[in-house]
Symmetry: C2
Subunit: 370 residues, 2 copies
DNA sequence: TTGTAGGCGTTATCAT
DNA sequence: ATGATAACGCCTACAA
């Protein structure tokens, strides 16, 4: 073992491991105990520089009409005191917004969402806004809490990947002047801008591709079909089969495979069917990975196409054919639209569809066994 | 092609694609044009309920000493008006903080950082704080801008994955009462808490593991060695070789492979050496992936160990041996320490090391070719 | 060019 | 139990 740098183990406090302790601490009482005039204010600067508060304000905001001499004097004091304008106060006065936008997603650790977030952040910075991130954990209750918390903080706008099935609670929020954009999933009971992937088209392409290879028994492994992204993908699967005149077999459909275990179990079930599928279509990156893992070591070679691209898909023993899209671009477009709304864009509700494309890498081009 | 849902193409505006346009818009002038008494205030509620403003405040904050009757009346008005307390004003008045913490990282799309962010967010929520995320893009200039913007917004604390080589500019920030924690890399010229990975120990273990398999010519492919995480890993490599009595050959070292192209080129260079290595050690997930990609199709089988685990490492044709760690746990611990500081923890500067572990999957157990 | 007065929406303090 | 008043730190409007 390395001998150096072993100085210490994990931290002494293990608060993080108190799994059950999800109750938010009622409040952070002793937060600002010692209040010894850290944080000088404009008033402090003004007094020290021998000018009025307003003059300091002018200097700080780079307004014209300040003598060079005065400006320099004030700037010197600002520097020596380490003054920083308090944007809380500033925003309270002029805008009503905190110059931040909120992004509510399910899980930042999922590459799909982290790419989305990257796109959003990129645009937000161009508009001099910062990004508040919050995880809904696919829980509609938590989603509402997060939205509420963001609203309290007066975000300039909200980007939401919705979890629940009723979003009418957002209506009052929006009427109150907070622009809201839905991302990746449409709203229920609400008229609002949305940026969606072409789930239907992409999935149709995927299934059609398998059909073109000669497959007639195609398994479907998906998450919650009542979620929009799920339902669109399932609908495309059904339609594609119907268009080919194939009668759907319920045995080939696996729903609710939202975690790896369920996806693996579904895969096993399909494989052990008396008349198993020769191909599989999965509806999201997480499911794809879980299924591929379950498929490893299986002798029969199933064709495979997955929705969402993922890193190293091209490096697996059989490179994986996918329906790819640009999640970061979706984030950028969502943010652009949001800022347009923030700036007063009054166009009717928009509905933008981000295209998908089939990337053939091998797994989707395996012919039916037989 | 699917016929439905083709309704539209990409959005009309292509602002997002103006790659060069990085100049922040000077400001968002027309932001709040129409100012028609959206957003009722406590004063509005008070008037409508026929009580004083302070009473409304009491109800909103669930203070005692309010008659049941009064409370109900006020609550009814709050509901009917859709009143939301303005936390900007609230925080201005009582705390100095916006009940948010800032996280400055390099790239949220990198799984390492997105897991880190997840850990941070998890803890932040327990403390009723929200998370402001900002990308430094590994640019120390931008890092300073981001820190400044966060400071202006009066974040309660700052978590920074530092980019630059001089962090003394943070000193005044900290003296002014904003707790700061460094994550993944130590500071330069600054006394501050830090949470680090056991880069040295993990790397030593990796190289030792290869040595134990009999390898004597081990290539090193790393990013910028002047970055801490790089330097520690390189140092461990050198020490391990020295401990085995092996004379270091500079030809086997590749520095500055921060992007995929450079990493690929470095791999090629190693392979074409007159006396090529029999094993390779890479110092980060991005580099590992790039090198493995470059190694694909190469007939000679090189042993391989990478720092950082990555998704599907176990699924590649030769499953990849890695030095793994828990990035989310690092985020949680960093956040816990930050909140401790926020709450007034005055212990001396902490330095926490997150352990790593070797996961043997195959690529690291390939014997030297001979 | 500079300064004064008032208010943004909330909470603290001190009365009543 | 309730209310009046003064902050919090800044900006807008209007003088001087």
């Amino acid at each position: 073992m390395s001998n150096e740098q072993t100085e210490l183990s994990l931290s002494e406090k293990q608060l993080a491991s108190q799994e059950g302790t999800n109750l938010p601490l009622t409040s952070l009482e002793p937060l600002h105990t010692e209040g010894n005039k850290l944080r000088p204010t404009m008033q402090d600067v003004a007094e020290m520089a021998g000018v009025s508060l307003k003059t300091v304000s002018r200097v700080v905001n780079k307004e014209a009409s300040v003598t060079q001499a005065t400006r320099e004097r004030v700037e010197a004091v600002i520097k020596s005191l380490g003054f920083r304008r308090n944007d809380l106060a500033r925003n309270l006065r002029q805008g009503q917004t905190s110059s931040t936008i909120g992004l509510v997603i399910e899980d930042i650790a999922n590459p799909f969402y982290s790419q989305l977030a990257q796109g959003v952040e990129y645009v937000a910075r161009r508009y001099n806004h910062m990004l508040i991130l919050s995880n809904s954990e696919e829980n509609s209750q938590r989603e509402r809490e997060q939205v509420s918390a963001l609203s309290h903080r007066r975000v300039a706008g909200l980007l939401i990947v919705p979890a629940g099935s009723d979003h009418s609670y957002l209506k009052s929020e929006m009427e109150r002047g907070t622009p809201v954009i839905f991302v990746d999933r449409p709203p229920a009971n609400l008229d609002v801008d949305m940026i969606l992937l072409d789930s239907y088209g992409g999935s149709y392409t995927a299934v059609k591709h398998l059909l073109c290879q000669g497959h007639r028994r195609i398994g479907l492994i998906c998450g919650d079909p009542s979620v929009y992204t799920g339902s669109g993908r399932v609908a495309a699967y059904r339609t594609a089969l119907a268009d080919w005149g194939i009668i759907l077999e319920d045995d080939l459909l696996c729903f609710g495979c939202d975690d790896a275990e369920k996806a693996a179990a579904a895969t096993q079930r399909l494989l052990s069917l008396p008349h198993p599928p020769t191909a599989v279509f999965t509806t999201s990156n997480r499911i794809s990975v879980a299924v591929l893992r379950a498929l490893r070591g299986v002798t029969r070679r199933l064709a495979f196409v997955g929705f969402d691209d993922f890193e190293l898909a091209d490096m697996l023993p059989t490179p994986v054919t996918v329906i790819a899209h640009d999640a970061a671009e979706m984030g950028r477009q969502a943010a652009e639209l949001l800022f347009a709304r923030i700036q007063g864009d009054e166009r009717p509700t928009q509905r933008v569809i981000i295209p998908t494309r089939l990337i053939m890498r091998g797994s989707g081009e395996i012919p039916p066994e037989g």
